[in-house]
Amino acid sequence: MAIFNLNINGETKEVDVDPATPMLWVLRDHINLVGTKYGCGIAQCGACTVHLGDNAVRSCQLPVSAVGKQKITTIEGLSEHGDHPVQKAWLEIDVPQCGYCQAGQIMSASALLKRTPNPSDEEIESAMNGNICRCGTYTRIKKAIKTAASSENV
């Protein structure tokens, strides 16, 4: 066990855990931020996607000891009032079915738009291919990303 001071959603959180613990479980079991989801544990489904700095990463493969002072943003911290352009677009298109994968989808999509504000279909497919949606909402996900891209202040 070791103590880590983590910068999560702009706040410092102290946890005392095994250094090998993936951020996914630090978030879910120790900080009570359960919006980040467990889907596969091997970085194949994208349900656990968070931002490390500006990059979308799979938190199930990110040991807490590797985080250091880097900022972590989870779905709960993406915006203060759930009004990030990607979240707004998700509501406008009414994307979710079961909803379990959607936090990961939104975190991947928001990281994409930060680096590529007007992505092509191919760029969307390439950036979002690591996120599985078992309900099959992909056509709406693509539509929502384009809606968000066309809105201001992404």
Partner: protein, 746 residues
């Protein structure tokens, strides 16, 4: 005239608190923030089990069925709100807990949610509205026939009196429940059939706790299970000392899911009733310690058991042994070559085949499939003494309650169960063995626990879509007319056959046979059970029959349906030829279908199941040797569509799901061991393989709603197969269609 309906359901009697406990208090939705009325009421008045009205007019509607993505948490309350006639912006939705007396059969599955609730939920709203009108009439001393109730406001025109529902709710809640109420006609709907946004969308996109997996409770421990690595094995012994010595671990226990002699129900399916459970402080610690378990397994012995299912009691045989896919395939081919059990016979198929000028024979097969819900199986349980509090993300709560009570040795009445949102279901979460396991683990360690299956545990635990095989034969005379059709279908361990579905009824000489192969690999419902295979086989075969006859694929189907309507063959045909024709005509129009269209590689497919009709036209092209689905046009007849945009979303999902499973879906076995255990091995459809465009249309009618979640799924497999043929020149008979090996050619 509105429809008259009489109150049969005791749940409409008022009184009593709706909720006992709620472990999901932390899961409060974001809906309140979006309401027109910003303040919560000071006092609530319960009108019936399904709704309560606040003193300021805010209405809370309890949605009875568990949600796993159909958006019934929006569409079911819409039915109540429509008849109550209240501003949708002033409605809050809460999930009802399991409570059979108040909410009847809380079953989400079989595409029956909306159709089963269509009348009761509207009755709940209409009853409350009538009671509000009676309260206003009494208060104002006017005839109740002169009081109107609309958009949350009661009015008496002659005296110009007016009051909000909230002002009359306290009086209304004390009145006798009326014995009969008038329901609106479809044409008078103001909310139903108009798209409403998902009431949970804001909570979902902001990561609020909603799912079973998200539950936290004071003192809650995490539990995981270790099940046998192969079907055909059971627990022999466990040495948990090394695991127990790991950090954060509280205990290692064994559990037995059924009491000896317990008569199982149809949803008690469980390949591994004896398990090792490991319990600790956190998920990661338990995952690490689980690797240190030393477990010995032993072969099962063959047994038979009687199951009390939906269709009555039946005996099933579970063989011993470690099964492999290669063996299943040769067993299936052997049985396909022998006579099966004749389920239906019209005319004289034997003579027709004997006299045929040509015979077309084709065989189709499909592997086992894992459901692979994004949320792995999980359940919360806190058993203390003879009481149990449970939060179960499951599809049929009432059917697992007797098992939990028996296994724990407590009265059924002492079990309280909340129904958190499920991260997918697709049939898998109808089988709630994991809830029994959670309860037993909690009882053994005497603490609240959340049982979490790892992805690997989830994928290798069983209850799969069975492996199927079907052989179709068609006889033609010298003029290339279709004279007979013969289908023989079977599977491991169930037959997929629906003998009385199309094209039965449309062909003079018809025969349907089936066979089965016993297996110890557990199977269960998977989105449109059996139909999800038969539709693909049948629709691919009919495509080849039409081609043989030189007919257009859609016109050929329409001709058969015309025959089935005008002069049906046989006593019992399960489908309505008019509605079937309707979806084919609609998809033909909306896809701008042309005969012999050389500009596109198009496949058509249509199917009837769960009382609804769906047809697809799928356009596909080959790019770098890989199929790309350019567009799918879909036509559905499911009666009245309650929430059109949500239904469209579900149809889009069914199409994408079907393409994914047709392309890639497969679980194979070697000596009882599932050969895939996570998404690096089990290929799921991803965004790059999803259709570039999906265009969904509904037949407009006023038929009471029929199924929606499942019907658009089965015909996708046929549309994919038929479009692949157009794009590649090769027929595809064996699912999955995309593998490393070249596709089989008939």
């Amino acid at each position: 005239m509105g429809r008259r309906a009489f109150i049969k359901n005791t749940s409409l009697a008022s009184g009593g608190l709706v909720l006992g406990f709620s472990i999901l208090n932390s899961c409060k939705s974001e809906q309140a923030k979006e309401m027109a009325v910003r303040e919560m009421p000071k006092e609530w008045f319960e009108m019936n089990s399904y709704l309560k009205i606040g003193d300021n007019g805010v209405v809370t509607i309890y949605t009875p069925n568990p949600e796993f993505g159909q958006n019934i948490r929006t569409s079911m309350p819409m039915l109540v709100a429509e008849e109550l006639d209240v501003d949708w912006k002033n409605v809050l939705v809460e999930q009802a807990p399991y409570h059979a007396d108040k909410y009847g059969f809380q079953f989400t599955g079989g595409s029956r949610g909306i159709s089963a609730r269509w009348e009761p939920l509207r009755m709940a709203g209409a009853t409350a509205r009538q009671m509000l009108i009676a309260a206003a009439a009494e208060t104002w001393q006017v005839p109740k026939e002169e009081v109107t109730a609309e958009a949350g406001v009661l009015q008496h025109a002659a005296t110009k009196k007016s009051a909000g529902y909230g002002e009359m709710a306290s009086v209304a809640a004390t009145l006798t429940v009326p014995e009969e109420v008038q329901l609106k006609e479809v044409k008078d709907f103001k909310l139903v059939s108009r798209s409403q946004k998902n009431v949970d969308a804001k909570s979902i996109v902001t990561g609020r706790p909603l799912f079973g997996m998200d539950i936290q409770d004071e003192g809650m421990l995490i539990a995981m299970i270790e099940h046998p690595p192969a079907f055909g094995l059971t627990l022999k012994s466990v040495d948990g000392e090394a695991a127990k010595a790991m950090p954060g671990i509280k205990d290692v226990v064994t559990i037995k899911s059924f009491k000896d002699g317990y008569e199982k129900g149809g949803f008690d399916t469980n390949a591994f009733p004896e398990l090792v459970a490991i319990v600790g402080n956190s998920t990661w610690e338990v995952m690490q310690a689980k690797k240190k378990l030393k477990v010995e397994w032993q072969p099962i012995t063959a047994y038979s058991e009687t199951i009390a299912g939906f269709g009555g009691k039946e005996t099933i045989n579970i063989p011993a042994g470690l099964e492999s896919t290669t063996t299943h395939k040769s067993q299936m081919e052997a049985l396909a070559a022998k006579p099966g059990k004749v389920v239906r016979k019209d005319g004289n198929p034997e003579v027709a085949f004997k006299n045929a000028t040509t015979i077309l024979e084709r065989s189709y097969s499909a592997p086992f499939l894992a459901h692979n819900n994004m949320e792995p199986l999980n359940a919360f349980a806190h058993v203390a003494g003879d009481k149990a509090k449970i939060a179960a993300p499951i599809q049929i709560p009432s059917l697992i309650i007797p098992t939990i009570a028996s296994s724990l040795g407590i009265p059924k009445e002492n079990i309280e169960m909340d129904l958190p949102r499920m991260g997918g279901g697709f049939g898998r979460k109808a089988y709630a063995h994991f809830v029994v396991e959670a309860a037993l683990i909690s009882q053994k360690v005497n603490a609240p626990i959340k049982l979490v299956y790892s992805r690997e545990d989830d994928m290798t635990n069983g209850i799969y879509r069975p492996s199927y095989h079907a052989t179709y034969r068609a006889a033609f005379d010298e003029n290339n007319n279709l004279t007979a059709l013969h289908v023989k279908a079977g599977g491991v361990p169930e037959s997929p056959l629906f003998a009385n579905r199309f094209p039965a009824g449309a062909i003079d000489n018809y025969m349907a046979e089936e066979w089965t192969i016993d297996s110890n690999i557990t199977i269960g419902a998977f989105r449109a059970p059996r139909s999800n295979f038969m539709a693909g086989a049948e629709q691919a075969f009919l495509d080849e029959v039409a081609e043989t006859m030189g007919k257009d694929a859609i016109q050929f189907r329409l001709d058969l349906l015309k025959r089935a309507k005008e002069n049906p063959v046989g006593e019992r045909n399960d489908y309505d030829a008019d509605r079937y024709t309707g979806v084919l005509e609609l998809v033909r129009e909306k896809s701008a279908w042309k005969e012999n269209d050389a500009t596109k590689h198009r496949g058509v497919s249509a199917y009837f199941c769960h009382n609804s009709y769906a047809a697809h036209v799928l356009d596909l092209k080959m790019e770098n040797g890989k199929p790309v689905v350019e567009k799918v046009v879909c036509a559905i007849d499911c009666g009245v569509v309650v929430n059109p945009d949500a239904a469209t979303n579900m149809a889009e999902g069914a199409i994408t799901d079907g393409i994914g499973n047709a392309f890639y879906g497969e679980l194979t076995f070697q000596d009882g061991v599932p050969q895939k255990n996570n998404f690096h091995q089990y290929q799921m459809i991803r965004i790059n393989d999803a259709p570039k465009e999906i265009d969904v249309h509904f037949v407009q009618n006023e038929i009471d709603p029929t199924g929606m979640g499942e019907p658009p799924f089965p015909p996708v497999f046929g549309a994919v197969a038929n479009a692949l043929y157009k794009a590649t020149g090769q027929r595809h008979y064996e699912q999955p269609f995309i593998t490393d090996k070249p596709p089989l050619v008939g």
